[in-house]
Symmetry: C2
Subunit: 346 residues, 2 copies
């Protein structure tokens, strides 16, 4: 059934996204027809997840061109609006990457840009399916226990991509091979992408799972309740340092301490060879209100501030394997994304 | 101003507790006059924290005796009700310890039991002040940076004890010595004791602090933003394994990885020499609804279950120091609570 779900697609006149802020209660769609609407949807995380942001960026250039036509923008205004889209969120490399894929084609007209943008979307789905196969192969070769019990953090599922999912793509592939056991889902404060989105995806597919507070991850791992942690990524530096949702680092350290693999599943578009190490990855700081209030009700004294980084950086030495659609790289063994030539796409 | 606050005290006719479920919005008190009321308050965490539970247990025996008089209970009914109180929550050793301190005196009459119970309460405050001094000494000898920047998890403050606090007692002592910097407060899901209670205590005393999601602890620690983590404990096994609020283990592993001290501050009544290792500490499993709903609103799909352990166990090897009112023990260096004779109380 989830085969038909698409987090983001082109309707012919609009970018149609699943409104992820309404899940798990309501599956609703938003049709977005201008740059402001798309930038707003990205900022409030109605569409989120690095590969889905890539698709939004590519299709957003089409929207911007149409809006330019409707509203009579000059070329510099169009470039400015595309630039605004490119930096709507700073950490994921895919957003800027995808804009950069299609923006050079603007002079060739909307049809050419649309074709390129749709290719970004289609390529992401193909990439996710290949990531699932490669990730499942890697895990089944190294983890003895059957079925495989997994811990995941945040949402790197079909909602975070265009379809299938990266980390959850590996889970779906393991399920298809009859090898998936219980999945522990970190709820992922402050915005609960785990409880709201990952649990919803797993529930749609009847994959057995339990939601837990993020703070339970270490004890679940050390108690031997899971065999592997699988997460997505927002940006991977040239040395293998990996930025992902806040809390991923704690999961990685616990896996390292417990001696189980920490698997990062992400498309090549997440690898940013222009950023040498994690030190160079900009970390989005979000509003304190996400932490110190809930459904509008304060959870802390009114005068208490909050420290609210949206992402953390896991050092390469803690990443057992980085699985993309083209390769597996094992940073914990000293392999670096920049040191291995990327095989040509098959 | 907080000098006057008491999480729990005897009014002459009732056990008066601060209703911790109403904080940080409202500072309100509950006067409890029977066993059912006290057991209910303990279970829903209106009174919580291992040393405060000890005080509740001791004073609860007095309540049970008065209720026995009012309602004409036979001795076996009284013993049964005291037994129910003793196990109202399973993990903290202090509750059972305190009941065991006063129950043998029941035959000597209410006045004798009340005197013993009030001594448990008074001793806890004295213990906390001494823990604060010893903890501050230990930290200031080993941490070079001034002022000292601290991370804490859950609430081991005056609300968790009878006054002053264990972990926050160390923070208060550092403040009194002019050596406290910024305190990072883990919000402590699912019940937010950090955001609601610890931030409230720090705000009362104008100690600078920032609330963060629990999942941010690892990045805060690895980024060098704090010099030491200080937490309380619910039960310490004979070998130094320490049970505390879920998430403490993740903090400990991150401190270990980053090479900063992980300090456990707790009274001797928390040390349970009858439990050889952490394997023997019963971990309370709480209702899934604490995780998958918030203020009555579901945060996950209706069919999603939750894994909700209230505590985790940090292995002794990750505990840099255990500070009690009588001694410091360094489990990470191989010292064990059972191997060092407890110096007599001064």
């Amino acid at each position: 059934m989830t085969e038909e779900l698409r987090s983001i697609r082109w309707t012919g006149t609009a970018v149609r996204i699943i409104d992820q802020t309404a899940l798990p209660h309501t599956l609703s769609y938003l049709d977005i027809e201008d740059v402001d609407g798309l930038v707003g949807a990205i900022r409030r995380l109605a569409v989120r997840g690095a590969p889905a942001l890539g698709a939004a960026g590519a299709l957003g250039v089409v929207l911007a061109m149409r809006q330019a036509g409707r509203e009579g923008w000059a070329a510099d205004r169009l470039a400015e609006e595309i630039g605004r889209l490119r930096v709507a969120r700073p950490t994921a490399s895919n957003l800027a990457w995808a804009v950069d894929q299609v923006e050079p084609l603007v002079a060739e007209g909307e049809a050419v840009v649309l074709e390129a943008a749709l290719r970004v979307v289609a390529d992401d789905e193909a990439a996710n399916r290949e990531i699932g196969r490669r990730g499942a192969d890697w895990i089944l070769e190294r983890v003895a226990r059957r079925p495989v019990r997994v811990l995941t953090h945040c949402n790197a599922g079909l909602l975070a991509t265009t379809a299938w999912g990266s980390a959850l793509g590996v889970v779906r592939e393991l399920r298809d091979r009859g090898q998936i056991g219980l999945v522990y889902v970190d709820e992922t404060r402050p915005l609960l992408q785990g409880a709201r989105l990952t649990a919803w995806e797993l529930e749609q597919e009847s994959i057995p799972h339990l939601v837990q507070v993020d703070a339970a991850a270490a004890s679940t791992i050390l108690a031997g309740k899971v065999d592997v942690a699988i997460i997505g990524a927002d940006r991977i530096a040239a040395n293998g340092d990996t930025a992902n949702k806040i809390g991923s680092l704690g999961v990685a350290i616990a896996c390292h301490y417990a001696g189980i693999p920490f698997v990062v599943a992400a498309p090549e578009s997440t690898v940013d060879l222009g950023t040498p190490t994690g030190q160079g990855i900009p970390i989005e700081m979000r509003d304190a209100s996400e932490v110190v209030s809930w459904l509008g009700v304060p959870t802390a004294p009114a005068s208490s501030g909050a420290h609210n980084p949206a992402f953390d950086v896991t050092p390469a030495g803690l990443v057992s394997v980085l699985v993309t659609e083209r390769r597996t790289v094992e940073p914990a063994k000293g392999e670096r994304p920049e040191q291995r030539p990327v095989p040509a796409a098959s």
